[in-house]
């Protein structure tokens, strides 16, 4: 099929699909008229039940904690698959790290921003129960620290600070820690992922019981997973450069 016929076919079927979607959304309550009840229930009970002020975090790591476990393992599995896909070719098994070395302004920008980014990433992870943020967001910010170090120096320095085995161990710690926090209540006969820890003071950084713990584990997992992604891609490009 040539490009023109394909575009025409898409315009015809796409118009139909768009009409179907619009028809489907027409049955929804109008924008700004959220009918509830689930969000309203969470808004009413979560503060007194869980002592956290950022309610999406309470939903993610507690009320819907089982789903988030699956979500975390989506990330874990995809990083595993990615390293399998990228590592099948010949060449040095471990990256030598010679690739990199960017122009001076870029290196300076990376050097200046890396400290701020690291602190901001940790802040975002640790305050996930209180203000917008959490393990997923902060983990990604923390992972961009690895990219900035790569830009500021070169892949070799990056790999010396964060060896791949260390990143893999951290990722496993984050993923396994979540499961262990979920399994611990079983010992006392309660359900998987029951919030058993003391809830602490409302608004305190340690508040939320298992929420704070799971949040930290997710932060470690996400940061290590994205750092591993970066290492895999760097190693891949490096091998390409090294080949004649």
């Amino acid at each position: 099929m040539n490009a023109r016929a394909r575009t025409l076919l898409f315009l015809a079927s796409g118009a139909l699909a768009a009409a179907l979607l619009l028809w489907g959304t027409a049955g929804l309550p109008g924008f700004g008229r959220y009918p509830g009840p689930y969000g309203d229930i969470i808004n009413a009970v979560a503060l007194s039940e869980r002592h956290v002020t950022n309610l999406p975090t309470a939903v993610i790591f507690d009320y819907r904690g089982f789903d988030t476990l699956g979500e975390e393992y989506i990330l874990f599995t995809s990083v595993t698959i990615l390293s399998v896909i990228l590592r099948k070719r010949e060449g040095p098994p471990e990256p030598s790290g010679a690739w990199g070395g960017f122009s001076e302004p870029i290196a300076w920008a990376g050097w200046l921003l890396s400290g701020v980014t690291g602190v901001f990433g940790l802040y975002t992870i640790l305050h996930g129960q209180l203000t917008p943020g959490g393990g997923f967001h902060g983990g990604v910010i923390l992972a961009s620290l690895f990219l900035l170090i790569f830009l500021a120096y070169e892949a070799r320095v990056f790999l010396r600070i964060f060896p791949k085995t260390a990143l893999e161990a951290l990722e496993a710690l984050g993923a396994g820690g979540y499961v262990l926090v979920g399994l611990a209540p079983l010992l006392s006969g309660r359900g998987f992922l029951t919030n058993v820890l003391p809830l602490g003071q409302l608004g305190d950084i340690r508040a939320g019981g298992t929420i704070a713990l799971i949040n930290a584990f997710v932060g470690v997992e996400v940061a290590a997973a994205f750092a591993l992604l970066v290492t895999e891609f760097i190693a891949e490009i490096e091998q390409k450069e090294a080949r004649p």
Binding site: R6, F10, G14, L22, T25, G39, L47, L86, G134, F233
Partner: protein, 117 residues
């Protein structure tokens, strides 16, 4: 039941379709992956629009009284899940694209034919 009450949903449909159009007409796999991200962002608009309530605040009570009317935190959590899945899908597709380029020497999906060996 005004038309403007449905504009955000229409915007989600529009973003979805424009991304799909990009995928269908794409001549470059990296461009195609970006178009897929556009399609996925339509779902963020839809999910967040469903949970919105006019005049309500964000469901974060760190700096507002406990009884302030707030939008639905459940859809915010869903959007976060959505974004994480989108990021992993993008990473996997980029890795596959690198493999395609290494094996076939092209990024144009039109030039890819079934492998014979």
């Amino acid at each position: 039941m005004t038309v403007t009450g449905y504009l955000p949903y229409a915007a989600a449909v529009w973003v979805f379709m424009i991304g799909l159009f990009g995928i269908v007409t794409s001549r470059n796999l990296i461009h195609l992956i970006t178009c897929l991200s556009v399609v996925q962002s339509a779902t963020y608009i839809l999910i967040l629009a469903v949970g919105y309530r006019t005049g309500a605040a964000a469901p974060v009570f760190a700096d507002q009284p406990v009884n302030t009317p707030a939008v639905d935190p459940v859809v915010h959590a869903l959007a976060l899940t959505d974004i994480v899945v989108a990021a992993t899908v993008t990473a996997l597709l980029v890795a596959l694209t690198m493999q395609v380029y290494a094996e076939r020497g092209t990024l144009d999906p039109n030039e890819l034919r079934p492998m014979r060996d």
